[in-house]
């Protein structure tokens, strides 16, 4: 069990960090996920791959953490205020600013787009695995990831430049249009 958790912990925490948007909530979510994994692993029946099950548990822990956060009073500066650190500082400050900008853009994405993007880009799951984790058809996964990336690119481009958050502004800042049901889901 210990070895299993150590193998997967870093990715679990990385997913939690991207979904929740900050280290504190990510640590709480990751801990809840690890506890749920420890408790649930003996009951795992093998109807899905172990990694699919693990990421489902992790994703649920993150979403629960987000719901709890909504019920808690906000403490500290809002994410958008932290973006004001941008300026003509040294490269390290620019890197920090880029990271904060990306964090903020991801945090601003609706959950339905952010979660599949994170599972794909951070968890490295393919569409079928994401579909199994989220319980939605693969076609919807493809659509949501595309729309999530589009919104992310627009948000980053609006604030600083290119889609990676490091270039000039080339596109607007709009949330993606309502999702197309490309697969009948």
């Amino acid at each position: 069990m210990d070895a299993f958790l150590r193998v997967h912990f870093d990715r679990v925490f990385a997913i939690c960090r991207r979904i929740t948007g900050n280290d504190t909530d990510a640590a709480d979510a990751a801990q809840e996920a690890m506890l749920a994994i420890v408790r649930g692993l003996p009951r795992f029946d093998g109807r899905s791959s172990i990694t699919t099950w693990l990421y489902r548990v992790t994703t649920n822990a993150c979403l629960d953490e987000l719901r709890r956060r909504k019920r808690r009073p906000a403490v500290g500066l809002p994410e958008l205020e932290r973006l004001d650190v941008t300026g003509d500082g040294p490269a390290a400050d620019d890197t920090l600013a880029d990271r904060l900008r990306l964090d903020a853009a991801l945090a601003a994405l609706p959950e339905e787009f952010r979660v599949p993007v994170v599972l794909r880009d951070v968890g490295d799951l393919d569409y079928a695995e994401i579909a199994a984790v989220l319980g939605i058809p693969p076609g919807t996964v493809r659509s949501r990831i595309a729309r999530g990336r589009m919104a992310l690119a627009r948000a980053l481009g609006d604030s600083s430049g290119d889609v990676s958050g490091q270039g000039d502004t080339r596109h607007g800042n709009q949330l993606p249009p309502p999702e197309r049901q490309t697969d009948g889901s």
Partner: protein
Amino acid sequence: MNEFLAFDDADWELASAYLDNELTSAERAHVEASPALMGLVADLRSMQSSVAAQPPAGIDRDAMITAAIAGTVDDGVVGGVVGSGRLGGELEPPLAPVTSISGRYRRRTAFWKAPMLLAAALLTVMGIGFAVRAGSRGDTQKTSGAAVSAPEVTNVTQDLSTDFNAGPPVGAVAPATTAAPAALPARTAATTAAAATTAAPAATTAAAATTVAAATTAAISSATTAAPAASNASSTSAPATGAPTTAAGAPLPLLTLQELKDLVVASAANPSAQTTLVCPDPRGVPRLSVQILWNGQPAIVFIDQINQTLVVLAVNGCTPVANIPIKDLAQS
């Protein structure tokens, strides 16, 4: 240059799926035929790398894993909330209760269970020792509430010596312990003198707490750093009669109730100093044992809580020389 606003939803989806290698061959060919789409793919790849790259987190990875494995939530519980609209799937286990940040790494109650069990075992053995000492002094005075009287102790130990072929019964050994104070090392003389004045009530208390206390056949001595002489006793050749002694014939120091309590506390605080932990339990249950004389030879006695037996081991080996069911010792 990519003019992203010029791309429609289908283009974004194609570029995104191309990036993830989730296109059919026909779709793939369509994307690769379009420089604009390939430019969009390149930008998306850059963004994907940014999302995937994360700075090192300031978390205690090992502590979180250890806490998860310990799996005990002892404090900081603020709710066991399960949000509505959870992602589907019957495979998911129930989520653990939510804990506060401050209590995140404090789920270690389980680690204290072992010391508590050890303390309980030691107190039980203490009761055994004090009961024997009280009996060995010929103290026939019965105190109210005492569960066991001296004659009963003798009878029980006679039975034990018969059952386990354990040599001289306690009755033959115990009286000699009354002569111990005069011969004790200086360090323990005062302690033992004090113990002599408190042995009877202590035995009464111990006997009331556990009827097992009536069953022992030996006087307790220390196997800890507080009693270095005891460790020397492992070289055997101690005389088979009289008070507990070391191999050189010096009396083994006796512990007061307070000293035994201190031993338990010290052992719990510093597991590496638990010199009384011997013979690893195959079930992984730590056992706090106390060194005694068994048929005049140094031995280790401990309570096997699982099998409910009093186990006596040769001090230089892990093979039990006696294995006494506690139920056989009970005098209730």
